[in-house]
Symmetry: C2
Subunit: 397 residues, 2 copies
């Protein structure tokens, strides 16, 4: 089942094939769920993988060392933020993002398209690319498919993403179709730019098409024909219900080549992840572990816990004896959260990053053992025991 | 030179002597500078010692493990904050502060008097004690010398402080004298309360007297006659110049018994510490390492550095190759500080805690080698090379 994704690109003459350090090997399947190994110049990523989000070149509130210790094999960084500050050119001059932030393992960078949509106070999408106003200093900037690739190569990403146009849902069918087709043309331009660049690494295409399965399939097949190292499903977790998200994932994943990684962008809750893996997804990213940690919420095997809740004030038990939270009591964590002590945000963010990585380890082991369905059901049932409403219907912000 | 401080209290009949786990042994002197060892139930503290401040039971922005790794042998926690939240009774029910916050080494708690002065929106000092309004919920509370001791015993402090009245400088001579004499009467009541309590640990008296050397000497001699495990100089770093502070320290330290530790409360900058040690001080606490870290300031052997400064944006050098800052570049730290990333505050707070502990280690080694004067001069000269004005005239907030 092994494929060196980049080198299997038969459509290019040998001298035009990208020199890359990327391969994906499928190691087991269990229903639609899969385990695999992504190999990059900075190390191996077992899949299904969850990527903690280091938006500005740092995982919020958690030391890189603790992110590694939690078991993360890869992180995500945001092109939009880093191109504005400190700028891709500066990061490149300082040796690239791995060197800059002292993270020696693989890094995936997004293309900036999603943040342009969600953060820039003004933006104009044209065939060429997207012009937008920086949310930091108001400067007008342009991101083209070529520039998005250039920026990500300057950053030194192991996995770069094509520039796409991401439409917030619900949206008009015509707008969804237009954005999907534009994203496809940008995918082709992005790929050409990537092939011209001397750097190694991988480029993923991004499936768009909103909540329309037909458009999603069309997008997936067209991207597969173009040929990428991996394929992402974008434009989800942008306002739709969990049902819609899972329906789109279920329709899209089978339309993508089995021997390449599939990445569901911006997802999600533990429940979302379990359900998406059951539909053939290999990679995830989400800010939930750290964002919730900063807000006093802890993920545990027995569901999410709100540490602000007064009922934890006298509770000597740790969040979870196995969850890598250094065994601090719920009473202490409650105190830190109530007192707005940074250490509360730090410990909970770290515990949540640990929880997510532990979940992924459990998932990988279950798939390898052919017991994923049992694992998924048992875990979903356990998760409903937390002291706050299950997050299963909350799309990842 | 060894003295078991608590057990050498000759004024009490043997059956009234406090059962305690505290001793101080002077190990070397170099001029007025001294090294020693404080032994407590939770471990040994080599002096001169700097205590990072864990106001609410946490060092702001730094994992306990990293505080220990930085070399801290003792921390300070604030009675005022902890008695308000989560309350001393709750901490006691959860096993005491060491267990609550997972800090296994010695803890000194202040008496709450200073925070009542600086934080409570309303306070009334009477012979009985001080009545004040909680800055958290507006509740009216009373702190008496007896209650201050009780709270600190509930917290499980290795070293407790008597309740004192701290006067902000400049102040009227009559008010300074009144507060000093009241603090002396409270010292006596605090000592009686401490002797009645079953707990071990130590109680320190606090010298008051503002900027008046004569009053300071009177306070020091009266406290010595009462007999405490150690002696603090309070009511400094409250608005006076460095000159005044050092003048008072120089007049007070010789009036305190040589075989007991001397603690200069709330001080200070590296320069303050070096100069106070040259005048016979053994213990310090200050929020500067963590507060400055949160504000983008790094202490280094070559003076303080303001990481917000744009001139660090492209600088690949770490703060100090030996300073335990994990080698992150100034460029990365600058980026984190500018981007308000929590990791910036974390890394700089940690580096600053490490700097202070490294400074104390250097000081102890220099005194032991009889080279303190040379060390002090060399260090003060190095410190003037930072990119911001030396902090030597800044009293510790």
């Amino acid at each position: 089942m092994a494929t060196r994704a980049c080198c299997s690109d038969k459509k290019l003459p040998v001298n035009k094939q990208m020199t890359c350090n990327f391969s994906f090997k499928l190691t087991a399947t269990d229903g639609a769920a899969r385990t695999g190994k992504i190999t990059t110049a900075h190390g191996i990523v077992p899949t299904p993988a969850f990527m903690p989000v280091g938006t500005q070149g740092a995982i919020k509130g958690v030391h890189h060392d603790d992110v590694r210790a939690a078991g993360a094999d890869i992180i995500l960084a945001n092109t939009y933020h880093l191109m504005l500050r400190p700028t891709a050119e500066r990061v490149a001059a300082l040796g690239g993002l791995h060197e800059f932030m002292h993270w020696p393992l693989p890094i995936l960078t997004d293309s900036g398209g999603y943040q342009v949509m969600s953060l820039a106070p003004l933006r104009k999408v044209a065939e060429t690319g997207v012009t937008f106003r920086s949310h930091l200093d108001g400067a007008m900037l342009e991101l083209t498919p070529e520039r998005a690739v250039e920026v990500q190569i300057l950053l030194g990403a192991d996995i770069a993403m094509q520039l796409d146009e991401c439409v917030r849902l619900p949206a008009e069918p015509a707008d969804i179709a237009r954005a999907m087709r534009l994203s496809l043309r940008w995918a082709e331009r992005g790929k050409r730019a990537f092939e011209k660049a001397p750097a190694g690494g991988a480029l993923f295409g991004i499936v768009q098409g909103g909540d329309d399965e037909r458009l999603r399939e069309e997008s997936a097949r067209a991207l597969t024909t173009l040929g990428f190292h991996g394929y992402a499903i974008g434009g989800l977790a942008v306002g739709e219900s969990e049902d819609v998200m899972l329906r789109v994932v279920a329709a899209t994943a089978p339309a993508l080549p089995a021997d390449h990684p599939r990445y569901l962008m911006g997802v999600g809750t533990p429940s979302d992840i379990l359900k998406a893996i059951a539909r053939g997804i290999d990679m995830f990213d989400c800010v939930l572990p750290t964002r919730n940690g900063r807000h006093g919420l802890a993920f545990t095997r027995f569901g999410p816990i709100n540490l602000r809740n007064a009922r934890h004030a006298d509770d000597p038990r740790p969040l979870d004896p196995d969850a890598g939270d250094r065994g601090y009591s719920r009473a202490y964590l409650h105190h830190l959260v109530k007192a707005n002590e940074m250490l509360g945000a730090i410990l909970l963010s770290q515990a949540n990053v640990g929880y997510y990585q532990g979940l992924m380890q459990g998932i990988r082991a279950a798939i390898a053992a052919g017991e994923f369905e049992d694992f998924r059901c048992r875990t979903l049932e356990q998760l409903s025991q937390g002291d706050i409403a299950p997050l299963s219907d909350v799309a990842c912000p």
